[in-house]
């Protein structure tokens, strides 16, 4: 088993954190993982993306040309990375922000065998903060891919988030469960 995942959106949407959460939970499930960010002149509001590789074998290059899974949070990222998705791949998109119509390209997902619309930002807003959108998406991702169980999420969040943000863990877990229900 080897799955290449590209996660993309705008700086500040929690793209890199979502990637780390996917990598960390898979590590807890006993798999080999790599996480590789876009880096350099990154800023809030600019583009952000990262690549996660999950494998039962030792991982070679952490760079993925054609991902099995694409998770996007804005139109720019969908347009940029969709052509690179494997034919049988799955695209998850935050349908509060990204739909073919909203992107001005109504037929763009027609050739896509597996696409999953997740109302991530809207659901996050209902939970009290749009900043939970990445966690809602993570819940949906878990439900659809089955790559790791819901149960390891809390342990992963504890390890990834700095101590000063641990008060946000219950809210994050609620968002993950809500997303799991949507998936």
């Amino acid at each position: 088993m080897e799955k290449g995942i590209i996660i993309a959106g705008s700086g500040g949407q929690g793209i890199l954190l979502l990637g780390r959460l996917i990598a960390y939970t898979s590590m807890l499930e006993g798999r080999n993982v790599t996480w590789f960010p876009s880096y350099g002149a990154e800023m809030r509001g600019g583009t952000a993306n990262c690549t996660v590789l999950i494998s039962d074998e030792v991982i070679g290059s952490p760079v993925v040309q054609n991902p099995d899974i694409l998770i996007v949070f804005n139109c720019l990222s969908l347009e940029r990375f969709l052509p690179r998705l494997k034919r049988e791949g799955t695209v998850f998109y935050d349908s509060s922000l990204v739909t073919p119509e909203k992107c001005g390209r109504p037929g763009m997902l027609d050739g896509c065998l597996h696409s999953v619309a997740v109302e991530a930002s809207a659901e996050a807003a209902r939970l009290g903060s749009i900043r939970f959108a990445n966690m809602v998406m993570f819940g949906a991702f878990l439900r659809v891919t089955g790559l790791s169980g819901l149960s390891v999420s809390e342990e992963a969040l504890r390890a990834i988030l700095p101590d000063r943000h641990h008060d946000l863990i219950p809210g994050n877990l609620r968002a993950i469960e809500r997303g799991y229900g949507q998936g």
Partner: protein
């Protein structure tokens, strides 16, 4: 695996340095290595160490010279253009026989180049780098476990040989995260440093210098250094092989290019090609004897590196005409895919050039 951590490669090196007893770091910011100084800026004060963001690379490396002369385990890091700026100081460290650890998280060059991962500083790391006839012990880790282990080893070897040690890595390994086990640091039991400048009350003064003006003095110093490099060649060569026993074709690659090549070897094996991987872990000393033996036994070589032909020269010297050597390189911060390496290997298979030494680009 229990006890695994998931950290960026840069942070792995920084924490490993602290565990190995590094108590002085000085550096100047540059992408893609900034997580090293960022991490050490809060971590070193926790253990009573000193972190200094210097006003320049020159200042940083010379502060390392001072800390090392005072007997402290000292480190600096940078990325390619910054490492070029530090070469004068590295030459002085080598000349003064001062231990230090220097990490180069390589990016594309020449000049400012770009911020992507690269392996274009192989020559600089293995053939001296600065002026004068000196060598660094150079390690090329290829995963986070090795970043951890070899950073610790680097401090021990720097003290053992009283010589600067280079950790040659790149932007991809530095920026990526993967699990590793933070094994405990075990001190190797080195003799006390009887050469440090710690105040000479009650003992004769000591001198640490690189200037030798007396008749034949500098030549004697150079010959002494050469003996040290010779000892490294005899005792410090590290390498790893993967499926070379029955291989016709051996890919030689280090660092991140070795990871891509490992994937390529698996793909080649699935296609029934007898391919293997030879991975130098030390770049100086280079595993020349081992590669020479493989050449004598009839293996052909494809060198894969993120430059347009640097390590390939050491492979050619090691092979010494006994077999065929080719190069597949990508440059300027671009990364090869395993499929491209497979293509390069298969192009080589289709050529009837056995027993002829040839180097070609792509």
């Amino acid at each position: 695996m229990p006890g695994q951590l998931l950290m960026k490669g840069n942070e792995v090196m920084a924490e490993a340095a602290v565990r190995a007893g590094c108590r002085f770091y000085s550096g100047y910011p540059i992408t893609p290595q900034n997580e090293i100084p960022e991490y050490l800026s809060w971590r070193l004060p926790e253990v009573g160490g000193v972190f200094i963001q210097a006003e320049s690379e020159l200042a940083a490396i010379n502060m390392v010279y001072g800390a090392s002369a005072a007997g402290v385990r000292a480190m600096t890091s940078s990325s390619s253009p910054g490492i070029s700026l530090k070469q004068e100081g590295i030459s002085f460290l080598a000349g003064a026989e001062l231990p230090a650890v220097v990490a180069n998280v390589q990016r594309g060059g020449p000049g400012l180049g770009n911020i992507s991962g690269s392996q274009q500083d192989y020559f600089q790391s293995t053939k001296g780098g600065g002026h004068g006839d000196y060598r660094l012990l150079a390690y090329a880790p290829f995963n986070h476990q090795e970043l951890w282990d070899l950073t610790m080893t680097a401090f021990d070897k720097a003290d053992e040989y009283r010589n600067p040690v280079m950790i040659l890595t790149d932007g991809v390994l530095g920026q990526m995260m993967e699990p590793f086990v933070p094994t405990e640091y075990v001190p190797p039991g080195l003799p006390p440093k009887d050469w440090v400048l710690d105040g000479c009350r009650g003992r004769p003064p000591r001198v640490i210098k690189t200037l030798y003006l007396g008749e034949g003095e500098l030549e004697r110093q150079n010959l002494k250094l050469q003996k040290k490099y010779q000892r490294m060649k005899e005792a410090e060569v590290l390498y790893e092989t993967y499926m070379v026993d029955d291989a016709d074709l051996v890919i030689v690659a280090f660092g991140i290019a070795a990871r891509v090549s490992l994937s390529a070897v698996r793909l080649l094996r699935r296609r029934g090609r007898r391919a293997g991987l030879f991975r130098p872990v030390t770049l100086f000393p280079f595993p020349e004897r081992e590669i020479g033996d493989l050449a004598e036994a009839g293996r052909r070589f494809l060198v894969v590196e993120l430059n347009l032909g640097q390590m390939v020269e050491d492979v050619l010297l090691a092979v010494n005409g006994a077999s065929e050597v080719r190069l597949y390189g990508r440059c300027g911060g671009s990364m090869m895919t395993p499929e491209e390496v497979v293509d390069a290997a298969e192009r080589m298979e289709s050529l009837d050039t056995r027993r002829r030494v040839r180097v070609s680009l792509k």
